[in-house]
Symmetry: C2
Amino acid sequence: MELPKGFRFAGVACGIKSRQGALDLTLIVADNECTAAGVYTTNQVVAAPVVLSRSRTPSQQFRGIVVNSGNANACTGAKGMTDALEMSKLAASAVADKKLAGTTAAHEDQWIVMSTGIIGRFLPMDKIANGIRQAAAELATGEHAYLNAADGIMTTDIARKIASRQVKLPSGKSISIVGMAKGAGMIGPKMATMLGCLITDATFGADQAQRLLQQSADRSFNCISVEGHTSTNDSLVLLATKPTSDQPGLDESDEAVFSVALTELCIELAKKIPDDGEGATHLIEITIRGASSDADADRIARSVALSNLVKTAITGGDPNWGRIVSAVGYAGVPIKPEVLSLHLNGFHLFDRGEPLEFEAKAVSQSIRGQKLTEIELLVGYGRGTAKHWTTDLNAEYVRFNSEYST
Amino acid sequence: MELPKGFRFAGVACGIKSRQGALDLTLIVADNECTAAGVYTTNQVVAAPVVLSRSRTPSQQFRGIVVNSGNANACTGAKGMTDALEMSKLAASAVADKKLAGTTAAHEDQWIVMSTGIIGRFLPMDKIANGIRQAAAELATGEHAYLNAADGIMTTDIARKIASRQVKLPSGKSISIVGMAKGAGMIGPKMATMLGCLITDATFGADQAQRLLQQSADRSFNCISVEGHTSTNDSLVLLATKPTSDQPGLDESDEAVFSVALTELCIELAKKIPDDGEGATHLIEITIRGASSDADADRIARSVALSNLVKTAITGGDPNWGRIVSAVGYAGVPIKPEVLSLHLNGFHLFDRGEPLEFEAKAVSQSIRGQKLTEIELLVGYGRGTAKHWTTDLNAEYVRFNSEYST
């Protein structure tokens, strides 16, 4: 893995999480001013760090990202906003104390702030202040520091979620993109309880970066769910090299190649979230074809993905396909019941509105025997398609979520 | 309980359900032609009996209802429609053979047909034919026959669901309304996997009956959910006495009193469904106030009700109120976060956007100690209100639904 040039990473344990030594504070710092773009939750009940970061992106005067895990700083009223601002200030002064090479001193408004964890509790600001100072002292460019940063944003995640791409652009430039994400529960349509940081040494202006990020998010992080609960804290940000007169933003052909790589990386990273869904034993990939539009296909995919009855059937290895086709029918967009056809793990179960004979045992074994379950639906004659990834629903998920805060 | 005059009931075991002796075929027959109104699923993937019954109601030329449980006759293509029509024919001829007192012989198009159970299997028509003949032979006016009819429509229900009202109307008439319902899983917004039969000896024209039924359904059966999966088979029907020149439909003041009683009865019956949700240990009542409109309040209530994270928190007796207020925020209708306030079982947990100190243990005990959990939310300054009833989500539900068809 080649890390993008011009960025430093750190992840430290500052005691927000109760488990001794668990990393819970991450810093990602650009050596010089950089470009930053962001995509955030659509929830109207929104955490203080999201309000703050959303007001700051996109911009070309950024210095970095400060993230804490273990506490979402959500539903915390006026004090929550004061605390989020304080995290910006602490990051700026810790980096200034470190005297990192920079064209300008780091200002307090040059930071993206992210928080994730339990809702409705105030941040332990003394621990956070210590953590930010410690992280600034440990900032480094190597893989070890990058992995610590990726671990520092995790909450209930079992597995670390990272992905990277090295891309040779048409103009001959070689660039690197790396990403880290967290999320396992409270993953819903239109952004999940999910944090994602994408860092590249490709050069972009603010608006260009924002457009590329939104496009990639719509094909990846906006196509996953665990239980459909849209969080208060979802944030996905992209840091990129800032354009200068010597080094302008990528031209059209370079941008096109970069955009494909970024979307691929985002899909790889996004799929890791439902794959790690709390207690999940299956990653369910839903493919819709034949809808009137991509947007309609997306609504149908979500309707299937969010059905507890579909999810529990997959948990049990039960080829109960009636639950799948009925979830198509209530998605709220027009479909053609007489065209409706279903394949499950390649087995053809329902064809143009009629049930087919099939070997239930073989289908059941195909579900039980592997982590991935593929659901493919043809819903009409249109050209709209969509893909969506979700988890099954099992007793472990319920047990876990019944005991989260108490 | 006083049963409405002019109707006969039967429920028999004909072998559709595998459990020996389980009642699975119900007949409800009017002695004379009666009025019938119906409200059906909004799913576009719709079972054959729903297509048939929807095309026939409302009407004043009805004779009755034939219901089977254990098989939904859904997603069964052309043969499914032939079988639903055949159920009508069998009911008409069995009743004709019995020579019930009637102003006309029963025709095959004078029947509502309902089916509920597994999706995608063809009906065992030989068993159904025997069952209909046997039920016609057992038709009776007493409570025993009525209770058998109520049991014959059940599937995974643990408890029988019946309700009744005796009403003295302003004009001096005394009328009776009885209802039976079934449903425990696949209960979603806008009608559930739910069958309901309401029978009254009050006199209504077809359009009057249809209007009253729709009004009551919107306040009751359309305000419940278990997992939000809208079924292919939902049907709620009302049978009433047919108006004649001697006995016209109820006048305005009688209708108003009847309407209140009908809605109360429907709410009583509808609440029994999530109360009996597969494996449910809590009935959750969600009350929304302050929305811009009743429709907005309804969307917010559904958003909270369908959140697996809210449901699992209640299962665990966990006062994790952040999940509740965040579900308000993604309902897709405007709210005022600075007004947003929450009471849980009477405890004030969140006030105008700020968290309150509270005794977590006391709130937790209030959840654990009783079946009903009350969630009350103030979301703005508007006059829109709504109530919604749903279940918690526990491991038993998941276990049950992982093993339903296999």
